[in-house]
């Protein structure tokens, strides 16, 4: 499923890699760090070229490049790529904070037949690309086919796992067409799956289901200036500097139930130092009052803002969101007793304190995250939040490994959290050495085929609110290495079978029970140690309106943001 992320460079960002990249894209550390070193403060100077009108929303981001290619983006439907690309379905965050899947380019969220194995969509009338050409079902199919190409890797891949007859398919540039997606006429598209899948409407809301004009997008550079279907199109996209989105004249509000298209322009200023950018937004200096911070606000700036009421009201914190966990490399740490000892030794309280304290989220005991229907709260190990070093020692004695040596990889931004875990494991007799690395090196190290680590801290926000997106990418044995996210390198045939069975189960209640059983089985194996369900804090300028965070995902809804007039 998702082959993930790349980045986490969160300089002072107290957050998870995975989450971040979704919204913004991939960044290159070197440039960033150069800025940091020379203390140039980055961004504002680099972005000086942006013409700022009074109705411009500015997004300050640490990333140094933003990819808008539907085949390689991991962006959530309601963040950056959602401004540029419409797709068959999309998400609507309701006023009470619920996230619903709603038709976007299609007239319905999908009509299923053959027990959920075949899904049919009809496109609305009068849809046009930003180049004026009509959007047809062939363009949707072309977009999906492109995502199978070997030259466009790194995007979301849920559909690749679910579509039938994809074996040996390597994209449309080889001259072949994907048989399991058919387009009977220019407004109809039909998907044939390899298993019944009730959550297909959610999958069809992901960015891979955005149209790409048939025959276009053969080059990687398509990621910079794709043809748009949403309210905004790319005027310029300069890596390391800025991305300027302006109104797409062919977008029509009448066919789009979700996007406000409020700001006349959206400008992403890249390569920002988060600490400085956060100050700018909080204090309203420069474009600060009409800006949002693309990443989570650094803990220090959050604490600083809390002390001043005028700034505190610019903060928005999500509910319990992504699962943060300590991934144990199950291929290295083969003894279940040792893994259990790790679970008992880990002080979740120390971890959370090192992240910034209470506000960072609730303690986790299960894998399926809050807000997902299949979630059932349980705690099979009953580990105290401070850990139980005595019990851990006893388990290690039983395993006849009283001082196991473990290597933990981490980004430099995770050093405090990693140190906290290292210290609590040391109390139980573990000898943990931490190895920090550049964030891009880290994202390769954790997901490559070698898996040269014993421990790492990871975080996972499902791509859509379904237990499938929660469990399968992290624990299915087919997702080990190769850029995939089974970071625990966990392989249990029983769990694979449960995932398969639950995926195809039409009865929701029974499917939920199967997911819970998978969750529990993985926990009994101590494949990972759940730490917290992280709460993300965001900051927006005083003139940015419509800044909402639903219960899922734990990110603000970019599609509904507006700029208020000065003085209001």
């Amino acid at each position: 499923m998702t082959r993930n992320m790349t980045t986490q460079k969160m300089a002072s960002l107290p957050q998870t890699p995975r989450q971040k990249i979704r919204r913004i894209g991939i960044s290159a550390l070197a440039i960033l760090t150069t800025f940091a070193l020379c203390g140039c403060g980055t961004g504002t100077a680099a972005a000086g070229a942006a013409t700022t009108t009074s109705n411009t929303l500015t997004v300050l981001t640490q990333s140094t490049s933003i990819s808008l290619d539907p085949a390689t983006s991991q962006s959530l439907p309601n963040t950056t790529a959602g401004l540029v690309h419409r797709r068959l379905n999309t998400w609507k965050i309701t006023d009470d904070g619920q996230t619903k899947v709603v038709p976007d380019l299609a007239t319905t969220t999908g009509v299923s037949s053959q027990g959920g194995r075949v899904w049919t969509y009809t496109l609305k009338k009068g849809l046009r690309f930003s180049n004026g050409k009509p959007i047809t079902s062939r363009d949707i199919k072309w977009g999906i086919e492109r995502s199978f190409s070997d030259s466009f890797t790194g995007g979301l891949s849920y559909h690749k796992q679910l579509l039938a007859d994809t074996a040996g398919y390597h994209g449309p540039f080889t001259g072949k067409s994907l048989k399991s997606v058919t387009t009977p006429d220019s407004r109809t598209i039909v998907f044939h799956l390899n298993t019944p899948f009730a959550d297909w409407p959610w999958v069809a809301s992901l960015v891979s289901f955005a149209p790409v004009p048939y025959g276009q997008g053969t080059q990687k550079s398509y990621a910079n200036t794709p043809v748009a279907s949403g309210p905004y199109m790319v005027r310029s996209n300069q890596a390391g500097k800025q991305l300027v989105l302006t109104r797409n004249p062919y977008w029509s509000k009448s066919t789009d139930p979700v996007r406000s298209g409020g700001p006349a322009q959206v400008v992403y200023k890249m390569g920002q130092n988060l600490t400085i950018a956060a100050q700018q937004v909080l204090q309203g200096t420069g474009d600060g009052s009409t800006s949002i911070l693309g990443e989570f606000i650094p803990t220090a700036q959050r604490v600083q803002a809390l002390g001043q009421p005028a700034q505190a009201k610019l903060l928005k914190t999500s509910g319990d969101g992504a699962l943060e966990y300590l991934a144990i490399n199950n291929r290295h740490v083969r003894s279940r007793l040792v893994r259990e000892a790790i679970a008992y030794a880990t002080s979740r309280r120390d971890y959370r304190t090192a992240k910034g304290g209470k506000a960072m989220g609730g303690y986790a005991t299960t894998l399926i995250t809050p807000g997902i229907a299949a979630r059932k709260k349980y705690d099979i190990w009953k580990v105290p939040v401070d850990g139980d070093p005595a019990k851990a020692r006893q388990l290690l004695k039983q395993a006849r490994q009283e001082h196991p040596h473990l290597t933990m990889i981490a980004t430099s931004d995770q050093s405090e959290q990693a140190s906290a875990i290292q210290h609590s494991l040391a109390l139980a007799g573990f000898d943990v050495s931490i190895r920090t690395m550049d964030s891009e090196v880290f994202s390769d190290a954790r997901s490559n085929d070698k898996g040269d680590y014993d421990l790492l801290i990871a975080s996972w926000q499902p791509d859509f609110p379904s237990a499938y997106a929660n469990i399968a990418p992290l624990f299915d044995s087919s997702q080990i290495g190769g850029g995939n996210m089974n970071l625990a390198r966990y392989s249990n045939p029983r769990v694979d079978a449960l995932i398969h069975e639950a995926t195809g189960e039409e009865d929701t209640a029974r499917a939920n029970r199967l997911w819970q059983e998978a969750d529990r089985t993985i926990m009994e194996d101590v494949a990972v140690v759940p730490l917290i369900y992280s709460r993300n804090t965001f900051v927006h300028g005083s003139r940015v309106g419509g800044f909402h965070i639903g219960t899922f995902p734990a990110y603000p809804d970019y599609l509904s943001m507006t700029i208020r007039k000065e003085g209001k």
């Binding site: 002072s12 550390l29 070197a30 760090t33 150069t34 940091a36 070193l37 600490t275 650094p298 803990t299 220090a300 700036q301 959050r302 604490v303 600083q304 809390l306 002390g307 309280r349 120390d350 304190t353 090192a354 992240k355 910034g356 304290g357 209470k358 506000a359 290597t407 990889i409 981490a410 980004t411 430099s412 931004d413 050093s415 405090e416 990693a418 140190s419 906290a420 290292q422 210290h423 050495s433 931490i434 190895r435 920090t436 690395m437 550049d438 964030s439 090196v441 190290a445 040269d452």
Partner: protein
């Protein structure tokens, strides 16, 4: 004052008269050390101390202080029962910010504790001194060894050798060091000690500037009479390089050493800042500073202490280096003074002084020296 002069004057005259090889820098050096280091009559101590460059004193004190801090980091931290690793959650509030005055400064925690984990900041600064100094000194020594070696060869063998080595220096100058260091950290196996890696990397990239300097110096020395004489007497190239040229470069090397060291310490800090330096939880000033920058509005002490330590140790080495530069290589300064003197004094006196300057190997005279000598 006059007593002091009476001690130093004869020595400087000795230098001037010390035979055909008086221009050998080593002579000058040894005489100099005799002069400033030789035991003196007790009554003259006060007068003598006035002649020592205050930069040497301050720099020496700072450097000594940090060396001692590094050596005794463990016992000093243990005085209050601390180490740089143990978290003190009880000293943090709900947002993981230290409670109490100045980031939790107390009798137990002299510098307070860090936000997020509540580790003892004094211990971090003290243990960080170990890391910074070890890496700084190690890397500088490696740079010196390579730089002096390459510089000697390039300067002594003009032509192909010089061309090849000089172009190599140019390449190293233009090499994107930080990117290389980041890439290297990805390639080197996890088991390889990071401290050693940093010493090697910083050392390996630090040599070109030294080599260039040495090369220039050798180019001027190789034509000197004593070098020619040695060559005519049949001395081997190795002998000339090591026994004739190298001693003349010593003052330069020592000065460069003290000036390069703070640069290496800062570079270590920069690499730790980038996450490719010392691995946590081993304390490092660089990592502490990079972490603390974000907290400066909330907990300024977190930045102040490690920042001050880095500042002071850098200042210390720089003062020491500057002081030594003047003490060991008085020419430039002396010439200035002489020029000033020429304006004020008779031609005869000036000539005498210039003679001293040309030889340039007597002890570092300060302005009093020159002027009084002239007047005498």
């Amino acid at each position: 004052m006059s007593q002091a002069r009476s001690v130093s004057q004869p020595l400087s005259h000795v230098t001037v008269k010390s035979g055909p090889r008086s221009c050998h820098p080593l002579r000058g050096q040894s005489l100099k050390s005799q002069k400033s280091g030789a035991p003196q009559a007790p009554g003259k101590t006060r007068a003598r101390s006035r002649r020592v460059d205050p930069r040497l004193i301050i720099g020496g004190i700072l450097v000594t202080f940090f060396v001692l801090l590094a050596i005794f980091a463990g016992p000093l931290s243990a005085l209050t029962g601390n180490d740089p690793y143990t978290p003190h959650r009880e000293l943090l509030d709900d947002n993981s910010v230290p409670t109490g005055f100045g980031g939790g400064i107390s009798a137990q925690h002299w510098f307070g504790v860090t936000p997020l984990r509540g580790a003892d900041l004094f211990s971090i600064v003290a243990y960080g001194a170990q890391v910074s100094l070890t890496i700084g000194i190690g890397a500088t020594v490696i740079s010196m060894l390579i730089g002096v070696g390459v510089g000697l060869l390039a300067g002594y063998f003009p032509g192909v050798v010089d061309a090849v080595l000089s172009r190599t220096m140019d390449v190293f100058f233009g090499f994107p060091f930080l990117i290389f260091a980041i890439a290297l950290s990805a390639v080197v196996p996890a088991s390889f000690p990071r401290e050693l890696l940093l010493i090697l990397v910083l050392g390996f990239f630090g040599w070109p500037s030294i080599a260039r300097l040495i090369r220039g110096q050798v180019l001027s020395l190789r034509g000197r009479d004593y070098t020619t004489a040695a060559r005519l007497m049949g001395a081997s190239t190795g002998h000339i390089l090591v026994n004739e040229l190298l001693p003349g470069l010593l003052p330069l090397i020592i000065v460069r050493l003290t000036l390069a060291l703070p640069g290496r310490i800062s570079a270590e800090a920069a690499l730790s800042f980038l996450g490719v330096g010392i691995n946590p939880p081993t304390p490092s000033w660089g990592r502490s500073i990079s972490d603390a920058v974000a907290w400066v509005m909330v907990d300024p002490m977190y930045l102040l202490f490690p920042g001050l330590a880095l500042f002071l140790v850098t200042l210390g080495f720089n003062l020491l280096g500057d002081g030594l530069a003047d003490a060991l290589n008085p020419r430039a300064r002396r010439r200035e003074m002489v020029e000033a003197t020429v304006d004020r004094t008779s031609g005869k006196a000036t000539t005498g002084t210039v003679g001293t300057v040309t030889d340039g190997h007597n002890a570092r005279p300060d302005s009093h020296d020159v002027r009084e000598e002239v007047q005498a």
